[in-house]
Structure formats: structure tokens, C-alpha cells
Amino acid sequence: MISFHQVNKHYGNFHVLKDINLHINQGEVVVIIGPSGSGKSTLVRCINRLETITSGELIVDNVKVNDKNTDINKLRRNIGMVFQHFNLYPHKTVLQNITLAPIKVLGISEKEAKETAMYYLEKVGIPDKANAYPSELSGGQQQRVAIARGLAMNPKIMLFDEPTSALDPETIGEVLDVMKKLTKEGMTMVVVTHEMGFAREVADRIVFMDQGRILEEAPPEEFFANPREERARLFLSRILNH
């Protein structure tokens, strides 16, 4: 579903991604962890071309992401994205946030889009907020709306870029619960997170990154019990021991 072949990315002189090789299958849940500045977010943002790669090849849903002839808007329809800071449209209601892309991009009717939106709002547990504005919601609610917004496009892949990092501790659980539900339904997911409990519970595979490189890839049981790399061991001991 997603394949990185020898992908490199530079920001000027800064080498953000180094020789990335990563293959993610359909229905797989991959959690990317690592210290900040290790390139996790950049890696995820390359998948829908919010960032362009400098060299190598990246294929998503059988399409070369960085090919000149690729219709990026068409590819993006199939990839939902959830951001750290939600990025809901503040001038639109929850319902309008969710229905905009289905109406304008997929061309479905407003009535159908609203029904779909309500279906996903039920799913994330806040159908009563359909007519509220984002500023009237808590962080956890806003992030659940953002997830519903992504799902309403019926994507093949969902990307999560630190979805709980901007939330207060009490609302993190409600967002993770929604994400867990998604993993059970077979959604292909790539998640950047610091929530180790979540990673251990739902990931099919953990990818550990440091300084722009993938240092280790392993199933969660194996990775958390017995990380091969020294750097991964250090990272885990720092975040798990307090």
C-alpha cells in the first residue's frame, strides 16, 4: 500500500530523512516512534506529499507520489490525515467541516454528505455537536471531529501526526478509543505518537526512528520487551520509567 525505496529528504543543508526503506501493507497499523526531530512527522507528511522527497521513490496506492504526472488531488482523496493541532476550519460548523471535501472533491450531494457526516459523528461519539463551531468544543472533541472529517472521504489510508500531543491528559483517552476502533475495522494506519500504551496495544509493527533514519522495525511485543538497538533501549527507558 505504501512503499518507501531509498527515500532521502533535505531541507537545505539539513538531511531530514536518510535512506528510508519502509513497506506498509493494506490493513496494517504502523506506529512510528522516536525522539523529537527524528523525522517521524516528515516521513508521514511525505506520504500525501505535504512534503516532497529529494531522492528515492515513494509509491502509495500504486501511484508514484512525486511523479510529475501524478494527480496529487486524486491521490489525496484516498488518504485521510489527522494533525496535532486538529486544523479544523474555524469559520465552519462541525458538519460543514466534514461535508466540505465530500461535496467539493467527490461531488456527492449535500444531503448524502450530511448523512455520511452524521454517521461518522455517531461513530466518534459526538453527533450532538454537529452544528457547533470548533471553538465551542474541547480539544478531544475537536480531534474526534478531525478524524470524522478524514473518514468521511472513505479513504484507504489514515495518517495520524501526533494526534494526542496537543490534548490535555483527560481527553487523550477518548481520541485513542476512536483510533482503536478504526484499527479493528481494518483501516491502513500510519500513526506518529508518544502514546506507548496505544502503540503496544494496537500496532502491527513499531518503527523506531532517530536522526532521520529508521533504526528498528519490529512487532510491538518484541520491540517493547527486547529492543535490539541501543538508542531504542535508551529512548524507551527514558519515556517508560516515570
Partner: protein, 217 residues
């Protein structure tokens, strides 16, 4: 004491001038807002030639006097075989001139919308133009309503440029009435009052809109 009989005697002329000033202002307001938005998007769009065009428009137009822009339409166009009446030439000049300032205001507004808005919209598959139209511009314009209001007030006052090329506006009739009556001071005070009738409500309206939008956010 002002001689109010002048207003009564020359009411028709004042009204005709007032009507043209209102008409020129409204047309120029709509036109300059439209052109301004287009130029602002040109300056920001990820297409180099458009950036250059937008920058050239703004730097060229806003750095020459309004009266020259109007003269281009009034005296320059006939040389190219396009005859414009004085009202049309004046209104066009005013529109093109004001658009350069509005473009800068709108551009500042666009830049103040958080980057995540563009990213969220683009990653849902919306095109650049759809994102501008549905997500970025509505938020940008809200942010720049106060400076935009200033531009509109300036525009109404600048419409007096029509008087110079006999554009049948308030200023033009003011000149006419004063040369007929020789009561220069009073005549122009009344002209000023008519301008205030337009600009003060505009100013208050902008303030009202600003407060209302502040609440809705």
C-alpha cells in the same frame, strides 16, 4: 452662518453629484475588491510568473499618483482608439488604483491564516483554488476588515478625482455651483457634508461588522 438657500436652490445638482459619487464608489469598491483578491492570490500562489505579475501590479500602481492613473484612462485610452466618457474613465482609474492597496491588505490577511488550514484542506483533496475560496479567503477577509474599511473610506473620498475630468460627481458640481454663486466656502461645506453622509455610516458599519465577527469566532 451658512447660506442654506444654496442647498435648496441647487438641490438637483447636489443630488446628481451625490448620485454619481455613490455610483462610482460602489462600482470601484466591488471592482477593486475583486481585482485586489485576484492580485493578492497571484502574489502568493506557488506559480512564479503570477507572483511577478502581482508584485509588478502593486508596485507600479500604488507608487504613482491617482490622478495619473485616471489620466491614463481618460487621455491615454483615446490614443489607443478606446474612448471612455469621464465617469467611466474616472471610475476605472479609481478601481485599478484602489485594487493595489486592497491587494496588499488581503495578502496580509491570507498570510495570517495558520498554515495548518491550507494543509488540512489540501490533504482532503481540495485544489489550491478551492482551498483559497472556501477556507483561506473567508478567514483572511474577516481578519482584515478594519484595514479594508480604511481603504473603502479612502476610496469614497478619492472618488472626488472624477471632478478633475468632469466626471459629474459631487466635487464637479461643487465647482460648478461655486463658480455660479461665488459663495465658495458655503458651497464646499455642503459638499463635505454629503461626503460625510457616505463615509461616517461606512466607518460605523465597519466597526459594527468587526465587533459582530469577533463574537462569531
Amino acid at each position: 452662518m451658512l447660506d442654506f438657500s444654496i442647498i435648496v436652490d441647487y438641490w438637483d445638482m447636489y443630488m446628481q453629484g451625490f448620485g454619481h459619487t455613490v455610483k462610482a464608489s460602489l462600482l470601484a469598491l466591488l471592482g477593486s475588491l475583486l481585482i485586489g483578491i485576484v492580485i493578492a492570490v497571484f502574489r502568493i500562489a506557488p506559480v512564479r510568473p503570477l507572483n511577478w505579475f502581482g508584485a509588478a501590479y502593486v508596485e507600479f500602481i500604488r507608487n504613482i499618483p491617482l490622478i495619473l492613473v485616471v489620466f491614463v484612462f481618460f487621455f491615454g485610452f483615446p490614443a489607443l482608439g478606446v474612448r471612455l466618457d469621464s465617469f467611466t474613465a474616472g471610475t476605472l482609474g479609481l478601481t485599478v488604483y484602489t485594487a493595489a492597496f486592497i491587494a496588499e491588505v488581503i495578502r496580509a490577511g491570507i498570510l495570517s491564516v495558520p498554515k495548518g488550514q491550507m494543509e488540512a484542506a489540501r490533504s482532503s483533496g481540495l485544489t489550491y483554488l478551492q482551498t483559497m475560496r472556501y477556507i483561506i479567503l473567508p478567514q483572511a477577509i474577516k481578519i482584515v476588515i478594519p484595514p479594508l474599511g480604511n481603504q473603502f473610506i479612502n476610496l469614497v473620498k478619492n472618488s472626488s478625482i472624477l471632478g478633475v475630468i468632469a466626471g459629474l460627481d459631487l466635487m464637479y458640481f461643487g465647482d460648478l455651483i461655486s463658480s455660479e454663486t461665488f459663495v465658495t466656502f458655503d458651497v464646499y461645506i455642503f459638499v463635505a457634508m454629503f461626503y460625510l453622509v457616505l463615509t461616517v455610516p461606512l466607518s460605523l458599519g465597519v466597526g459594527f461588522l468587526e465587533r459582530r465577527l469577533a463574537r462569531s469566532r
